[in-house]
């Protein structure tokens, strides 16, 4: 086939990129080679727009065993064990085919973890959808949510990994662009870590797992473009997942690794066989030669182009020690999986692909995998919404139930009950019982706390401050459980980077995240960038999502609900303050005022750090009966959430503050934690040590909750009614429209 300018454009390659290809090859590429370059140099695989800025992120730390550049980051947790973890997006496929898009998102990140030799022990997901009640887009948004949740459940439950937590928020900007970010974490012995590196000239290259079909061709390129009216025709680009096959692959890979006959291994995810061959070759500075006739195929008559670009799921590529192939084959046979030698490692650095013995592609691995063009795209400043605040007479009494049943704040029970969050019996709390998910490692007596956080509203108003706030909240969630934050992974969801104001959002969010991660000593060990989240020119809010892991000794965790009446309620960090320009991002502004203005809450990093040290110590000393950090919906919402335990213990609180009542009740200033204790004096002593305010604001009582400001009652509520509103709102929003 002749390479025409049209064909180049169809492959989303620019003229300059094409010239660079010609220069690398010293000739015109073949059609297959053009396809190979187009996927490896897509935004999704090459990070060509973001890489320049990603270099600003901190990646080193004393516990970091493996930073960015591998399939997952690795952290030393002591006792001879490590954890591997990463977050990845599957936004575009989930919009086109919600169930399979989300399911294969889970499959992809799980493979990234067990490719490293680690058995996955936890999954979390960060989801964003459009409005469920919109008369026009609502039906589609409800269908997308239903499909995505069912897809995650289908894959994770069958595979046998617990989905232990996450977050789910709603904004109109996600109408045509839902976000599905999945985080996975695995554990293994330190000496059992595997890397995706080919080595040893003459060693066999072995293909294992599912057969290759025509599904998912150009998935990586699809994920690197905006959506248009024609996007639905891309449904065949979405892959179909088989979690049972993945489970077999997991067990077989871990068993094969244990034989010691495997040199390197990588999963076939985005860009399939192309990506796994050239990246393994490039990392090992060797060549790889394969014969496509030997690749197990699900369909007949597949062209080299199709085989190399297929994104069929549940496949792995590995390099074994020559002479020990049989040990590997035996394990895969036991698990009923195909394992075929398709080629060998060579010394010339080339990716050489043959079909029927004829060379159909020959490209230097390093240039293909690592020399994609890098762009320093122009950026201006992010858009600002500098309107003045629109506060008016308000009722805290009526606003609280409204906020508790708002989609962002209401219980996500409808979602997490569809996930098996307990399998492997390591999950120490159910979702929504603690601010972070906690999973124990039976082998070490250590538990890992995990949280995902991102706030598009904050980041839209200020990407830099919003990203810092996300890191702060994530670390606070871990600290409130008593865990010490140690490392992070990020998923950067943005619009079209070719628009300077979007690029500005990306740059500022990365810089904000860098500063905060440096400050909290949580290096980023890997992650994912998802750009072009736009439909018909409408971009999403900048949505950087951060996932942070923390470590703690295994023990029964301190949970959110109040346990006993008559306990002191302490607002660690104090009631805080909030200028009206920083109130426009709150859930109150969203749900009651239907507005958005100004800037996100003000964050003082040093104060935040002192607060976190204090709460960690209070919790570790066993002084808190309950603990919950303040976030969306502020103090009033947090207080209500603390009251939703089975015993329905509420609280009566009294605040001395001159803020407007609704600002006092609902502002979202960070660095605050609400706790109940039988020992307020000891709590105060610890707080004082860290210079953190710790006013006793009230007392826990049965069945009711009351908030007063300087002796004026702002509201009194029956817990049962609030709890019902909070618990059933999401289900009601989803199912009111069925029938």
């Amino acid at each position: 086939m002749t390479i025409t300018p049209d064909l180049i454009a169809q492959h989303q390659l620019t003229e300059n990129e094409y010239e660079k290809i010609v220069q690398i090859l010293g000739r015109e590429p073949s059609y297959t080679e053009l396809g190979i370059f187009s996927v490896m140099w897509s935004e999704h695989c090459s990070y060509k727009s973001s890489r320049v800025h990603l270099k600003k992120l901190p990646t080193r730390g004393k516990l970091v065993v493996q930073g960015p550049g591998e399939n997952a980051g690795i952290i030393d947790i002591g006792g001879g064990y490590v954890i591997a973890f990463k977050i990845e997006s599957h936004n575009h496929p989930s919009f086109i085919e919600p169930f399979q898009g989300a399911a294969t998102g889970v499959g992809g990140i799980l493979r990234d973890i067990f490719t490293m030799g680690a058995r996955p022990i936890a999954v979390l997901d960060s989801l964003r959808f459009g409005r469920l009640d919109d008369p026009v887009t609502g039906p589609r948004n409800r269908r997308i949510l239903g499909g995505v949740v069912a897809g995650i459940a289908h894959y994770g439950n069958c595979f046998g990994v617990p989905t232990v937590g996450g977050e789910c928020l709603f904004e109109p900007c996600y109408d045509g662009n839902p976000l599905v970010n999945v985080f996975a974490l695995g554990v293994c012995k330190k000496e059992d870590v595997f890397y995706a590196k080919a080595a040893g000239v003459g060693n066999p290259v072995i293909y294992v797992g599912a057969r290759t079909g025509r599904d998912g061709i150009h998935g990586a390129s699809m994920a690197s473009a905006e959506f248009t009216e024609e996007s639905k025709q891309k449904r065949p680009n979405v892959q179909v997942g088989d979690p049972f096959m993945e489970k077999l692959l997991l067990e077989a890979c871990l068993e094969a690794m244990a034989t010691g006959a495997i040199v390197g291994i990588q999963d076939m995810g985005a860009a399939g066989l192309t990506c796994s061959t050239c990246e393994m070759g490039s990392r090992g500075e060797v060549g790889i030669e394969i014969e496509l006739d030997r690749v197990p195929q699900r369909e007949t008559g597949m062209t080299p182009y199709e085989i190399m670009l297929s994104e069929s799921q549940e496949r792995m590529l590995l390099v074994a020690d020559k002479g020990r192939e049989d040990e590997v084959f035996r394990v895969f046979k036991k698990w009923g999986l195909e394992a075929v030698e398709i080629g060998e490692v060579t010394g010339d650095g080339q990716l050489r692909v043959r079909q029927h013995g004829q060379i159909v592609a020959e490209i230097p691995n390093r240039e293909l995998a690592d020399e994609a063009p890098l762009y320093t795209r122009p950026y201006t400043v992010p858009p600002k919404i500098a309107r003045s605040p629109a506060l008016r007479a308000a009722s805290v009494q009526t606003a609280l139930p409204k906020l508790l049943s708002a989609p962002d704040i209401c219980s996500k029970r409808y979602i997490w009950e569809q996930y098996d969050y307990q399998v492997r019996t390591n999950t120490l709390t159910r979702p929504e019982q603690t601010d972070a998910a906690i999973v124990r490692i039976k082998e070490t007596g250590t538990s890992v706390a995990m949280s995902l956080d991102g706030n598009g509203r904050y980041c839209y108003l200020s990407p830099r401050e919003g990203a810092q706030l996300a890191v702060a909240e994530c670390c606070r969630n871990l600290s409130t459980c008593g865990a010490e934050p140690v490392a992070a992974t990020n998923c950067l969801n943005f619009g079209n980077p070719e628009r300077p104001e979007i690029m500005a959002q990306l740059v500022e969010a990365i810089e904000g995240m860098s500063d905060a991660c440096r400050f909290f000593s949580t290096p980023i060990t890997g992650g994912n960038v998802s750009l072009y989240n736009e439909t018909l020119g409408e971009g999403i809010y900048p949505t950087p999502v951060i996932g942070i892991v923390g470590l703690m000794k295994t023990a029964a965790p301190v949970t959110i609900p109040f346990k006993n009446p008559g306990r002191s309620v302490i607002l660690l960090g104090g009631p805080g303050t909030c200028e009206e320009t920083r109130f426009g991002c709150t859930q109150y502004a969203k749900e009651v005022l239907r507005d958005l203005w100004g800037l996100p809450p003000a964050l003082d990093l040093d104060r935040e750090k002192r607060l976190q040290s204090a709460i960690r110590e209070i919790v570790s000393e066993g002084l808190a009966e309950s603990a919950h950090d303040l976030s969306d919906g502020g103090l009033a919402v947090a207080l209500a959430e603390c009251s939703f335990g089975p015993a329905e213990i509420g609280a009566q609180i009294e605040l001395a503050s001159d803020l407007r009542p609704e600002v006092l009740a609902f502002h979202e200033a960070p660095s605050r934690v609400l706790l109940s204790t039988a020992n307020p004096i000891k709590v105060a002593a610890i707080a004082e040590k860290y210079g953190v305010e710790a006013p006793v604001v009230g007392i826990t009582i049965e069945k009711e909750m009351e908030i007063r400001q300087r002796s004026v009652t702002l509201g009194t509520w029956e817990i049962a009614a609030l709890k019902a509103a909070h618990e059933h709102a999401l289900e009601a929003a989803l199912e009111a429209h069925v029938r």
Binding site: A150, A153, N157, C158, F159, G160, D242, P243, F244, M245, K247, L248, E251, W335, G336, W416, E417, Q418, Y419, D420, Y421, Q422, V423, R424, T425, L428, R430, R440, K442, T554, A556
Partner: protein, 231 residues
């Protein structure tokens, strides 16, 4: 007492059953691979939860043909104790070792939730340590756990005292709140709730231990006629 945990390729609660028995019950336990035609020297077998062969067809529909199920049938016929949990229950029902069927949950969705239930009889090796008036807390995690049988079978199960557990919170729509049933000989029991996930305080409940303690007691007092070594 020696326990065996059957491992189908898609079992995913096999580790949990192994841990509950080995660690929390302190009994010897081993895995038995699905293509094994013998069970070796065990006193009881557990069919764990999971998705035996993917369960893309009906849950357990393929597992009933696996080589190990021949051995399980023989073992059951000789009076050995067989406990099926979740997918294990589905397999026992498909294999005809227990009556009825497990169909999709009433709400058509997978549900993971801790529920309250009660032992409905003490007359079985799986419940003899239980008190029937005590509320037990154990989790469920399944999409197809709604117990279904025709009226005659249900009446018969009740008449023969073969309902082992009943839900207080019936989340999946099971007929007559049935959470677990026994075979006629009372040595095979299947249940949808996961007792192995409730065997130590850190799991949130230890109520599942009652099933395993009952098995230990039954074994300790078993008549000598039960052969110690089986084919």
């Amino acid at each position: 007492m020696r326990f065996g945990v059957i491992v189908f390729p898609g079992s995913n609660c096999d580790h949990d059953a192994f841990y509950a028995v080995g660690n929390n019950l302190g009994q010897p336990v081993e895995y038995i691979w699905h293509d094994s035609e013998t069970l070796g020297n065990v006193d009881a077998v557990i069919l764990p939860g999971g998705f035996a062969y993917g369960d893309y067809l009906r849950c357990g529909a393929i597992a009933k043909f696996s080589p190990v199920m021949k051995a399980v049938r023989r073992f059951a016929a000789e009076g050995g104790l067989v406990l099926g949990v979740c997918n294990g229950f589905q397999i026992l029902v498909e294999a005809g070792l227990l009556p009825g069927a497990l169909i999709r949950n009433r709400g058509l969705k997978f549900i993971c939730r801790e529920l309250r239930l009660r032992a409905a009889t003490r007359n079985s090796p799986f419940t003899l340590a239980a008190q029937t008036d005590r509320i037990l807390r154990m989790p469920i995690a399944h999409g197809e756990g709604c117990y279904f049988a025709d009226e005659r079978t249900l009446d018969e199960l009740e008449a023969e005292d073969r309902i082992a557990f009943r839900y207080i919170d019936n989340a999946n729509g099971s007929l007559r709140n049935i959470a677990g049933v026994l075979n006629r000989e009372r040595n095979v029991m299947g249940m949808m709730p996961h007792p192995e996930r409730a065997t130590e305080p850190l799991m949130g409940s230890s109520d599942g231990l009652v099933v395993f303690h009952s098995m230990l007691m039954a074994h300790a007092t078993a008549p000598a006629s039960v052969p110690a070594v089986r084919a």
